[in-house]
């Protein structure tokens, strides 16, 4: 699976690491029962602190997406991330708000892109 983090981004690294797992789930490349690489391995390949990955895995566990067990590592328990549904709902609100204020699709896209580049 693909791992990517940008240390220059304002988004905390552990959030970016968790996002990598969510993206794989959303793309259907991770299925229930699949085992994630160990936190140590992920920390090694991304050259980030072990605790950063552990924090990411813990947040995924708190969302009910993975199960963390000593000796078994991180196992996927759900593949329909609640975060995805939340994001869809936020986008719906955003578009509704844009229509209300007369913001064009082009301007809204530009605003989103500039937010990504922060």
């Amino acid at each position: 699976m693909l791992w990517q983090v940008d240390p220059t981004s304002s988004t905390p690294l552990h959030v970016q690491v968790a996002a990598c797992v969510r993206r794989e789930m959303a793309a259907g490349r991770l299925e229930r029962g699949d085992r994630l690489p160990s936190a140590k391995e992920v920390a090694g390949v991304l050259d980030v602190n072990l605790h950063t990955v552990l924090r990411a895995y813990q947040s995924l566990r708190d969302e009910g997406l993975i199960d963390l067990r000593r000796g078994r590592g991180a196992v996927v328990t759900a593949t329909d991330p609640a975060a995805d549904a939340r994001l869809r709902s936020l986008v719906a609100d955003l578009v509704a708000e844009a229509r209300l204020t007369g913001t064009t699709r082009h301007d809204l896209t530009r605003l989103i892109e500039s937010e990504f580049q922060r």
């Binding site: 699976m1 693909l2 990517q4 983090v5 690489p37 391995e41 390949v45 991304l46």
Partner: protein
């Protein structure tokens, strides 16, 4: 893509793999000579009829005269390992070291097995297939000779000339800012049924011999089974250090970024291209950790044969490797 940048001095000038292969061809004949001397030294203490073959019950079921037994042991020890030498001579030089090691180890094993059981026979005693006093030194020596020849025949990667290399325009890559740290993890694993089959094939003869009177061989059988299960799958990682294919403490392959000419996807047929599954060397010297047919990550190396690994999402792995490699040039 630019031509792989290797210095001419290191390109194929090293003759060590060939020397190791020639040396491995001598192991069988030398051990045969030693076996003949030993047989001659004890020939007046050997029974008139010598056990040549043992049945599944551990009892000899075929006997021969001393001359026939000696000729059989000599021919098998001297000639069987030659098969691997011939294969090594026909294959890519980088495959010769491993084949030299295998050939040498097989020669030692056969020499110890055949001359050991032959010279240990005494009139009135039931002949043993592989007397314990011969078994342990033979196995130790076989591993030592195999590893020594393998290491001797190891072809070091050609030196890089330091000139910048540019990735081919159409090569797979990711469009991400240079500040993004990229990595890819995956695994290549034999199906559970495949592992079970390999374990059964490898361990059954040992278990049979163990049950027939060498109980400690059960420990060896368990150890080999565990090793096979653990090496039936490999972790594949692509990061700022390049490509790594590992099982536990074993590193099957490591390709540093500066040696990546281009990573791409390919379709592999393990039996046709590598003659089997698991860690393999192809005729062209390519290294493969191949666990199934189909999609594979193919890493073309600078001045060396490619590395092939059967992973899902090989295109993504190739894109990550190419992107990281292009940042170095």
């Amino acid at each position: 893509m630019t031509t792989p940048a290797v210095t001419s001095a290191s390109a194929g000038a090293d003759r060590r793999p060939t020397h190791a292969l020639v040396a491995s061809a001598l192991v069988g004949p030398l051990l045969t000579a030693a076996g003949l001397l030993l047989t001659y030294a004890v020939h007046d203490r050997l029974p008139a009829s010598l056990a040549l073959h043992w049945g599944p019950d551990g009892r000899p079921d075929r006997f021969a005269s001393l001359t026939e037994a000696v000729v059989t042991a000599s021919l098998m020890t001297a000639l069987l390992p030659m098969l691997f030498v011939v294969i090594g001579a026909a294959w890519h030089p980088s495959a010769r070291g491993p084949l030299a090691g295998f050939s040498g180890a097989v020669a030692v094993f056969l020499g110890g097995l055949l001359f050991g059981s032959l010279t240990s026979q005494r009139p009135g005693l039931v002949a043993r297939v592989f007397p314990t006093v011969w078994l342990v030194p033979t196995l130790v020596l076989a591993v030592a000779v195999g590893v020594a020849l393998w290491r001797w025949g190891h072809l070091p990667p050609p030196a890089l000339d330091g000139a910048p290399r540019h990735l081919r325009t159409g090569a797979l890559r990711l469009d991400v800012p240079d500040t993004t740290r990229l990595a890819w993890t995956g695994h290549a694993a034999l199906p559970d049924v495949g592992i079970l089959l390999v374990v059964l094939l490898a361990v059954t003869p040992l278990v049979v011999v163990a049950v027939l009177g060498v109980p400690w061989l059960l420990l060896l059988a368990v150890a080999i089974a565990a090793l096979l299960v653990l090496t039936g799958s490999a972790r594949v990682a692509v990061d700022a250090d390049g490509l790594r294919v590992t099982s536990l403490f074993l590193t099957w392959s490591r390709v540093p970024l500066e040696r990546v000419a281009e990573a791409r996807t390919g379709t592999v047929s393990p039996l046709r291209e590598f003659g089997g599954y698991g860690w393999r060397i192809g005729k062209d010297g390519s290294r493969g950790f191949v666990t199934r047919s189909g999609e594979a990550l193919v890493v073309e190396r600078v001045g060396e044969p490619p590395v092939v690994v059967t992973v899902d999402d090989a295109a993504e792995a190739a894109a990550v490797l190419n992107t990281l490699a292009s940042r170095r040039s």
